[in-house]
Assembly symmetry: C2
């Protein structure tokens, strides 16, 4: 008995030493809770974001929890965010239904020592540590290059967009300016407002087709615009003659890419938004990031200010990878 006692003690000590040495700072506590807070919380788009957050949380051994305001209503979202803060979570990733409406609540969380990042839609004047979302100008530039190559680097194109909404304006500007700089023989003949409505987009693009019989392509900055454009091009019997580059990866868009009516769509990095939000929140919570010593008391941001989560071109070749399960 005595010998076995010493043997067991020795082995336990050795094992404990090995485990203690190897303990990774990226092994979280399963009780740590990180929240994702959205608005219009039922829409499909957020699923991709939360999938990335859940994947990172699983790798880190912590818990990711999804919640949000059912409507796209800033007051409702403030209430939800306040409820989350009251739980004293380990960190919060929030997308903002309104840039200024959530500012005070975000600042309160930061002041209470809860790390906060924003994703998809920012609150730039708040004290959030980082914003992770699509660089919309770059997304428009990607669409411009893809469409220009598709039509052989010359010809007339048009844009169907949501006039006055910042992300759509940026996509349009990136598209128009990139063509002007890199494809001088591609001419943007018209830009119209589809107001994020499928029927309006169909009417708008039908008008483009009538006014510009040589039209070679259409860029739609919103998913419903792309579906509407597809209707117009199909009805005019111009499939393959007028190329369509759309936006996002709604099921309707992906189906039309499979059918060959829409040529390509610009997919946002939704999984990236969730994954890197989680990594960044964890890194602050666990004091892993030290851009300078004592950042906490010196007005210094512990994280990069902005992550452009990037975009990818979806085509017939890779469309299957973009369907959500």
């Amino acid at each position: 008995m005595k010998r076995s006692f010493w043997l067991v003690t020795l082995i336990l000590t050795l094992v404990f030493t090995v485990v203690a040495t190897a303990a990774s700072p990226f092994e979280g506590n399963p009780k740590e809770e990180y929240y994702m807070v959205t608005f219009a919380s039922g829409i499909e788009y957020w699923k991709g974001c939360f999938a990335g957050m859940e994947d990172a949380a699983a790798q880190l051994g912590v818990k990711a929890i999804y919640t949000g305001a059912p409507l796209s209503d800033v007051n409702q979202q403030v209430t939800v965010l306040e409820q989350v803060i009251a739980k004293r979570p380990a960190g919060i990733a929030v997308t903002c239904s309104n840039p200024d409406g959530l500012r005070a609540t975000i600042d309160r969380a930061i002041e209470a020592g809860i790390p906060v990042v924003t994703f998809d839609a920012d609150s730039p004047l708040s004290k959030r540590y980082c914003y992770l979302g699509t660089g919309n100008y770059n997304a428009g530039a990607m669409a411009a290059r893809y469409l220009a190559e598709l039509i052989g680097g010359k010809g007339e194109v048009a844009v169907s967009t949501v006039t006055g909404q910042l992300n759509h304006e940026e996509r349009k500007t990136g598209f128009v300016e990139t063509l002007a700089r890199e494809y001088p023989n591609v001419k943007v003949v018209s830009v119209g407002n589809d107001n994020n409505d499928q029927t309006r987009a169909a009417v708008l693009v039908s008008g483009f087709l009538q006014a510009y019989p040589n039209l070679k392509g259409v860029f739609c900055t919103d998913a419903l615009g792309g579906v509407g454009a597809a209707t117009a091009v199909r009805e005019a019997n111009k499939v393959g003659k007028v190329r369509i580059v759309s936006f996002d990866t709604d099921k309707g868009t992906l189906d039309l890419i499979k059918e060959g009516i829409i040529d390509a769509s610009i997919a946002q990095g939704t999984w990236n938004m969730g994954y890197w939000s989680m990594m960044m929140l964890y890194s602050v919570r666990h004091d892993l990031v030290k851009p300078v010593d004592g950042w906490q008391t010196k007005g210094i941001n512990p994280l990069p200010g902005v992550v452009d989560t990037g975009t990818n071109v979806v085509t017939k070749e890779n469309v299957d990878a973009f369907y959500m399960d």
Copy 2:
């Protein structure tokens, strides 16, 4: 003996199960080598970048190695990068002395299955997975807001910059446009070229002071410009009357902030560049990031495209945190 044998076996099995379950995907192999490749490899600026990479590597249990071309010479850097690729490292973070000169070499590394990110200076048309660097427009905007508040929101200011160099032009534009938008009573009366030279900056800013006796502030987009501006302001006996906001955290700049001649400087997120480069390279090498299934064969980028590593305002209050050991 028999009893102790079973006891030991039982304990080992239990411990093994616990350890195996807890094994973190962020525990790397100490033999894994990640390289940072720079140009002008001896300058102080890169130390901050590599410190971040080393900190992340230590947390991940892998090895970070620093190398680079001694000169700011693209051919020399291509040779160094090729030598690094020949070692088949686990990943490479490279800053590009020339956007296009390194493109083919970076693409060769990616095609050989070595993850590559760029930092500080990008090669945007290469196949690198991510670029991590300062958003220079935003950095200029930060300088504008700080200087404008310092002079009470009104008065004349001037800019000392490096004309024709992209990062400096962006800083200048961010400064000028932010003032125009947010501080209509602050007027930019002159913009001059100091060519990243301390003596030229002193002459330039002396000229500003003579031409505009009511001048309230100067923004210098480069570190040597700031030191030169300090000389000019001191010689004109206008310390405290003409405010200086400079750039970067060279020792000379920090000393002048401590003395109260330079009011503030915009610090780049060099530590962030290295830290998040390392995290991203590791995440690809260990197959932790899956924006969509099978990204490898579908032309899909596994990482966010661009990280703006951010900036912070250095003042007398927090200057001590920015000295490198």
